[in-house]
Symmetry: C2
Subunit: 549 residues, 2 copies
């Protein structure tokens, strides 16, 4: 992979421009390509710059479900999704500590509420336009529930999720499809996409208007490009910037599955022209396989689906500490539990343990599952013929990483506790009821349960007794990011705003490189991409309306 | 209180300066005054600007213990505090998830490790200079333990804490003493202190050097002041900026006891000249009385000392969820527990409950105690003749605030659960052992236990059975800040650094307005002010050495 060094983000005023365009888009992931298409369809001359060697960004790795409130298929089916209801649902989950059902904005700030309005009002419009232009056709996932389908504030618990039309039956490869079809549309419609170009800074005129960018190539060469109307950033979050993670996120995250190029470039570049930074503390979160994160594996996919019914997570003491089937954004929180008396994160690494049944019937190379089929990369899988052998192997594996996980090791009574934990879990599995953590009681937990053996079955499809006989398997997990949620704040037109709340003329952003008003929430599958398409549409339209400079 | 509106932080280049000085200090709290004194004693012409109507800042409200590793009295007493040991202790607590005993920097980044070195090497030097000049004389608190005195990495568990010499016997008013003596020294030595002047932005020359500030007064008038050598910011954190709290802190904090003027001014001003922001996610934390926080009471003091042996905290269901006597920074974490299945912070408000014994023997108006003596402001105290009456009153009080605490209310079985909880706690108190949360087992818990009845006594001085007879009392608590820990990053000379890690010439910072490398840790009492004095000293010395412009 080409690496292009980061340089100073301070805005420049080059003596001359090498080329000029109406609108320049930084980032050729799904959001950048969508913004470029929207801008092009309005008649603009558009260029897309991409730091990586190939377009696609994080989208290329994503399932690309997209959450579109009150979408066209819902309306066609007569599924009601009222604006007020949907805004209420978003507010309830984003800032639960401030949610007030009787407040005109449900307790949210103006910035947050206007963002939710922008999503509701534009995601479907953007989606239909992409579909009608043949850039991103979809199919409706009518049965997929929101991640909080059971709460009373969710008045449309199913129906909001769309998927690229040609995605596979298991709905896991929508990102590849979307990038392919959007790139084809970009080529068809005359949008240039230049890879291996890292945008280093914007060009700002004497009045503070952003009128271009300076990018560098792998050979060290510079290029100064004029944007007659504006620049739209869609360069992703800061998941792979270790210092930013440590100094901004609310939890000690060791990695994530964003594209490796997501290093917080727009935090630097936006801040350098006075952008207000918001929501820097939150991320779209997911359990991840510890070893893949530590090895900075570019193929890392978040554990969206913790498959296996005869599978549990245990801590370093061999005890269950969480409901393994929680939706991924919430499941990740279990890893960040703090022990205020010992000054440690006791669950920073948890251990998934499963038996032959789950290995044979729940293995899959999709959705970041850690139970993988024969032939797949299984370097992270630990095994043992007996529980004691497994426990010893887990201890040895964890010890290898001890210096980078705060000295964590399995306890001396790990094997004995694990045996007792399995006995207790097996009782729950036979009864169909998890008295400790209520596993499998919510719709979202069934959604991500993954493949299981059809027979023999147990009363709760998410739990089956772990066998008394080996072999047994395990994997080390930690809490990670899909990508971060913080960055320069934008208004409801996609304009980046400064520290007085005023738009910075000519500067736009969308996707994970700018602040998401969702705060800690993950409203549903596709609550990333659906809203992003709305903001890509808004940014493209607002940039289009800028006076030409 | 004079309010001076915030204006744009974008750096200015005024046509002329109204006055000029060698060094300008923004903020007349303890850190700003110390920096000004250090700079003055090097021969500089120094001015201090303060936004509030009076000097003192947060320091005025502080006990002003100051943690000074390897201090002069320790050396005189032969208490060993080796550099490597002390740096190890700081590292172990600051980033426990990265602590590596065998790493040359114990797993910390260069920035963090250099900050710890700077503290160890300079806190005592700064302290001695302040004492020798009569600006801040101290007494040694030889018996006060570090907050993690029991961990093996603490090789000097007592002896690092100093206190202003004339502070009262209970050691609670050191801040008032320190501000008085430092102000007297400033007046004696010719340092101007101008209150009701809000620094809005720095002045930057064409080469990017900071050469002054623009401040506004309450009447709207501007003043442009030249700093021939440099500007040192010591304007406090962002505890009272609601949007910054929401968008940066790792927890849903509702307030804190920093000076009301601590609104993140230097985050805006520093970022506007390209400063890198670090450690924005962490704060010095403390439980606080909910109602005082919601009313923005400028007199709010964090609950440093949760006094009362016959006192417990219960949740909205009437159940204990934490060790009430944890050191304040850790105790605050209990309020931020997340329920990943219900999407709520179930402990955002906890309820302290106590009986007549604690009311009569543990009341105090010091250290933010919620059990207050007759005559003190007791608006936050809820009472009832019976437990049932108390429970009803707690429910009614909490309901008043329900719209701003995420709809929280006490459960229907609150009173019954409270009765059972008290019975269980009373058993622990009689046995002297808290089987649920290990209350009173660590040195720091005894340090802050507060006054109690001498007789009758129980085996564990932190626990006494709650009476079977009323009256009973309660107070609503939440997790809060002393102040925040994030802001522009400085290097080990106190210079603010930009997003490439390069110093911004002429710009310095110290105290809560800049990033603290302590991350989530609170090493000991005074781990705020001791290190701050080291950095004030370093910043003053480095600014003094700047070429005159």
């Amino acid at each position: 992979m080409t690496h292009i060094e980061r340089q100073s983000p301070r805005p420049a005023m080059p003596e001359r421009f090498d080329e000029e365009f109406d609108i320049i888009v930084a980032g050729a992931g799904g959001v950048g390509l969508a913004a470029a298409l929207f801008a092009r369809w309005l008649g603009n001359n558009v260029l897309v710059l991409e730091k990586a060697d190939a377009p696609g960004g994080t989208t290329q790795k994503a399932a690309f479900w997209y959450w579109v409130p009150n979408n066209e298929p819902m309306r066609a089916l007569g599924i009601e999704d009222r604006r007020e209801d949907c805004l209420r649902y978003m507010a309830r989950l984003s800032r639960p500590e401030q949610y007030d059902p009787d407040h005109p904005r449900f307790g949210m700030s103006e910035w947050e509420y206007e963002a939710y309005e922008a999503i509701y009002d534009n995601a479907s419009v953007a989606t239909e336009l992409l579909a009608n232009k043949g850039a991103l056709e979809y199919r409706h996932c009518a049965a997929v529930p929101d991640y909080w389908a059971e709460i009373p504030e969710d008045k449309a618990p199913t129906g909001r999720v769309l998927l690229p039309k040609d995605a596979c039956e298991t709905m896991s490869d929508g990102g590849k499809v979307a990038i392919r079809t959007m790139l084809a549309a970009a080529a068809r419609d005359g949008i240039g996409v230049r890879t291996a170009h890292r945008v280093q800074r914007v060009v700002q005129d004497a009045r503070g208007r952003v009128i271009g960018v300076v990018a560098t190539r792998a050979d060290g060469g510079h290029i100064a490009l004029k944007a007659r109307k504006g620049v739209i950033f869609a360069t992703g979050g800061f998941t792979h910037n270790v210092e930013m993670r440590k100094n901004h996120l609310s939890a000690p995250v060791l990695g994530g599955c964003a594209a490796r190029t997501n290093e917080g470039d727009f935090v630097h570049i936006g801040a350098a022209v006075g952008a207000e930074l918001r929501n820097m503390n939150y991320a779209w979160m997911c359990p991840i396989v510890l070893e893949k994160a530590l090895q900075q594996d570019p193929g890392l996919i978040g554990t969206f689906s913790p498959s296996g019914d005869s599978m549990i997570y245990v801590d370093k003491n061999g005890r269950r500490v969480t409901n393994e089937k929680l939706a991924y954004n919430e499941s990740a929180q279990a890893f960040f539990q703090w022990d205020p008396a010992k000054c440690e994160y006791p669950n920073l690494v948890l251990i998934a343990v499963w038996d032959r049944r789950s290995q044979e019937h729940s293995a899959s190379d999709e959705y970041g599952r850690f139970i993988v089929p024969p032939g797949a990369d299984a370097a992270h899988v630990i095994s043992g013929r007996t529980l004691e052998e497994l426990a010893a192997a887990i201890g040895a594996r964890m010890a290898q990483y001890s210096s980078v996980i705060g000295g964590m090791r399995t306890s001396e009574d790990f094997a004995a506790n694990l045996r007792a934990t399995i006995a207790r879990f097996n009782g729950f599995a036979r009864a169909g009821k998890d008295l400790d953590f209520r596993r499998g009681e919510r719709p979202v937990e069934l959604l991500f349960n993954g493949p299981t053996a059809a027979t023999p079955s147990a009363p709760n499809p998410t739990m089956y007794p772990i066998s008394d006989e080996g072999p047994y398997y395990a994997a080390l997990l930690t809490g990670g990011n899909l990508d971060t949620k913080g960055g320069p704040a934008t208004n409801a037109r996609g304009q980046v705003v400064d520290r007085m709340g005023e738009p910075i003329p000519g500067l736009y952003g969308a996707g994970n490189c700018v602040a998401s008003a969702s705060a800690r929430a993950y409203w549903a599958g596709g609550a990333t991409l659906g809203p992003f398409l709305a903001f890509a549409y808004l940014a493209a339209n607002a940039a289009h309306r800028e006076p030409v400079n």
